[in-house]
Amino acid sequence: MNDDTGTSGLALTEDESQLQASVERFVSREYTFEHYRRTVREHQSMDREFWRQVADLGLIGACFPEDWQGYAQSGKEPFLILEQFGHGLVVEPLVSGVLAPGAVLAASGERERFADVFAGLMSGEQLLALAWTEPGQRFDSSPVTVRASKTGAGWRLNGRKSTVLAAPMAETLLVSAATEDGPSVFLVPKDTAGIESVVYQTLDGQRAADIRFNEVDVGRESLVGNAGDGLAMVQAGLDQAAALTCAEAVGAMSAALELTVDYTQTRKQFGQAIASFQAIQHRLANMAIELEYSRAMLQLLSSGMDRLPQGERGTFISGIRSKILGCARYLVSEAVQLHGGIGVTDEAAISHYFRKVTALDLAWGDARQHLERYRSTRSADYDLVAALY
């Protein structure tokens, strides 16, 4: 890699390189494959000790822009950190429990009011869960079944959310609900009377929950931003998650390719390593191309996103995400195939990368849905790279 070419260059700055290297070292030392499995099996997918280390190293704060009271410099920090988290199969919910809900609060126009929440997230002591998915709809974020009506003292929530990532370990829920003023967002402590949750594990070892709201009464202060502005706020959170999980996908692709190259060099059939067969080599070569192209796209994403106003980010993020997640799902499918039978077992690390990438794709809008969003929202002469001019 080139030397530092300044903050606007394509190569990482010295600070960014140092951050990348230190997270890489930290994850490979602390988060072995065995550690990952123990976290999922024995710590309900949330190792509080590990999370404290993450916070103490400043990695959560480094993901927060200055106007959320964090200390991100270039905005590339969360991408660098999450790429390593993806590489190491880190299952703790940095995106779903911190950065996605954080982006919703940041979009509320009331950042000062939530200073304590941001501080709690950055210190690792608090997690939030963004409750936006509902039974009966897929990626449509308009709340329908969960409704909030005004009471004398505040609001009363009824309805059901499904597959709320990070909900089992979060103390507080950020809930989208239909109101007479339109979609709105509420900050609701999870232990409020009338909330019931059903907890389960997802294919990638995360924990999620379905949440029922039965006559849940909350105060006026639980409304985030203005009533009726909920869709834009939730969209800001979903866009943030859609963008940041691209970095996790690239990290996971990179690890999956490494595992597969190693495996094909070790595995012998007909007296020779299967990596010596041209049929295998060409598949690996194409996997390597898709990984590099995804890295290039991630660079466009991390350097272009902050140059665009919020309203123009959706098309940009969706176009890039459709490419990266499409490549990622292709690459891990090939990786499993080249592993042969062992590739579909729980014992093999590669199957966990296959599951991780699938989950990243499905959770925040899959490649197909983002491609359609890009297609239908771009202008006639739209050019993704123009964000850099």
């Binding site: 606007s8 990482l12 070569a285 194409n286 390597a288 290039a296 350097s303 491609l371 850099l388």
Partner: protein, 394 residues
């Protein structure tokens, strides 16, 4: 707004646009816009116009008459030029042999050849491939035997682009067959008017004449036309390729072609609506735009050295994917035209000939000739081999 590595070039882009608006002759622009391969005369004129501004050789050092620009600035320039429908220049002198001559050539060679390359007055071709040396170039068998004053050259070259225009050919020849294939190759500069040089056209499936067979029978080449040292030709040809790593990505051309395609979709109706709103076609166009953006970023990463894989593997990646994009875009283009794409122009004829030819005359020619992009300069399969070997250490 934070700066990006491209934002500083915004004023430069404006400067290029103004220059082209003022200097590019309308007839030349129209031929280019229609998708025709530039004629020899167009290439000569446009090179001369650019030379007046000092822009004909953007990457050459100033001391040799170039603009001395960084590779990134040069890429920005080429993207803008293509987008403005300026004809592509003949690459063989400006991009290929020129840098070899100013790096490895003698003072006499520099003085003799560089000025005529810069102003477009002399054309070059590249004598590399032979009938039995395609992807395995180093197995070439054209021989050159020195009699002290001349090399006497015998053999045959094939797929020689623009040989019919060329005044000179830089040619790989075998001067030693005792050791390794690569070790016995030298590079000679051959005057195409020498006795014993015969050029025979090869007509490609688009019914055009770009490529040729070149027969060399007892051609006498003065020894001072040897580039650098004898038996070092392979090294110079690798230098030449390394110099041109990002050119084989066809980024400026693909960006231009995709823009043209999108404009065309806005002019064609199907039923009640323009093709722009045909969701199945538009989905493919959208996917291609995104893939092209990834390709563009890959090219910038390679130019700026901001990547961590082997440089040869990286070059192979953009070569293979660049070829794929050229083919996909030209394929979408003829699909958008449907039956109107069927008429085929022969090379050099630009007269009107019915609806399809008026609408997009070069579409079918481009579609047909771009089948070759994944074949020449090392097939895609060779690129995958290089990626596996150099990029993945297999």
């Amino acid at each position: 707004m934070p700066d990006s590595f491209l934002s500083e070039y915004q004023p430069f882009r404006e400067e290029i646009r103004e220059f082209v608006a003022e200097k590019l002759p309308d007839d030349m622009k129209e031929r280019t816009r229609q998708g025709f391969h530039p004629t020899k005369e167009d290439m000569r004129r446009w090179t001369a116009i650019l030379h007046e501004r000092g822009w004909s050789a953007p990457g050459w050092p100033r001391e040799y008459g170039g603009a001395g620009w960084s590779p990134l600035k040069r890429m920005v320039f080429e993207i803008e030029m293509a987008n403005a429908e300026a004809p592509g220049l003949s690459p063989f002198g400006l991009h290929l042999i020129g840098p070899v001559i100013y790096t490895f050539g003698s003072e006499e060679q520099k003085a003799r050849y560089l000025p005529a390359i810069l102003d477009g007055s002399q054309f070059w071709c590249q004598g590399y491939s032979e009938p039995n040396s395609g992807s395995d170039l180093a197995s070439l068998r054209t021989t050159a035997v020195s009699d002290g004053e001349h090399y006497v050259v015998n053999g045959q070259k094939i797929w020689t682009s623009e040989a019919q225009y060329a005044d000179m050919m830089f040619c790989l020849v075998r001067t030693d067959s005792s050791g390794s294939n690569q070790g016995g190759i030298s590079m000679l500069l051959i005057d195409m008017n020498s006795p014993g040089v015969t050029v025979r056209p090869i007509i490609t499936q688009d019914m055009s004449h770009y490529v040729n067979e070149v027969f060399l029978e007892d051609v006498k080449v003065p020894v001072e036309n040897l580039v650098g040292e004898e038996n070092h030709g392979w090294q110079y040809s690798k230098f030449l390729l390394a110099n041109e790593r990002t050119a084989s990505a066809y980024l400026p051309q693909s960006k231009r072609d995709l823009r043209r395609l999108r404009e065309l979709l806005g002019q064609l109706r199907e039923g009640d609506d323009y093709l722009t709103h045909d969701a199945t076609l538009d989905l493919e166009v959208a996917r291609t735009e995104i893939d092209l953006a990834a390709h563009e970023m890959m090219v910038y990463r390679i130019i700026e050295g901001a990547y961590r894989i082997d440089p040869n593997a990286a070059a192979s990646m953009i070569k293979a994917r660049g070829a794929g994009l050229q083919q996909r875009i030209s394929s979408l283009w003829v699909e958008a035209l449907g039956p109107h794409a069927l008429p085929l122009f022969g090379s050099g004829t630009h007269e009107s000939g019915g609806y399809g030819l008026d609408l997009s005359p070069g579409a079918m020619s481009q579609y047909l000739i771009r089948r070759a992009v994944s074949i020449y300069g090392g097939t895609n399969e060779i690129q995958y081999n290089i990626i596996a070997k150099r990029g993945l250490n297999l």
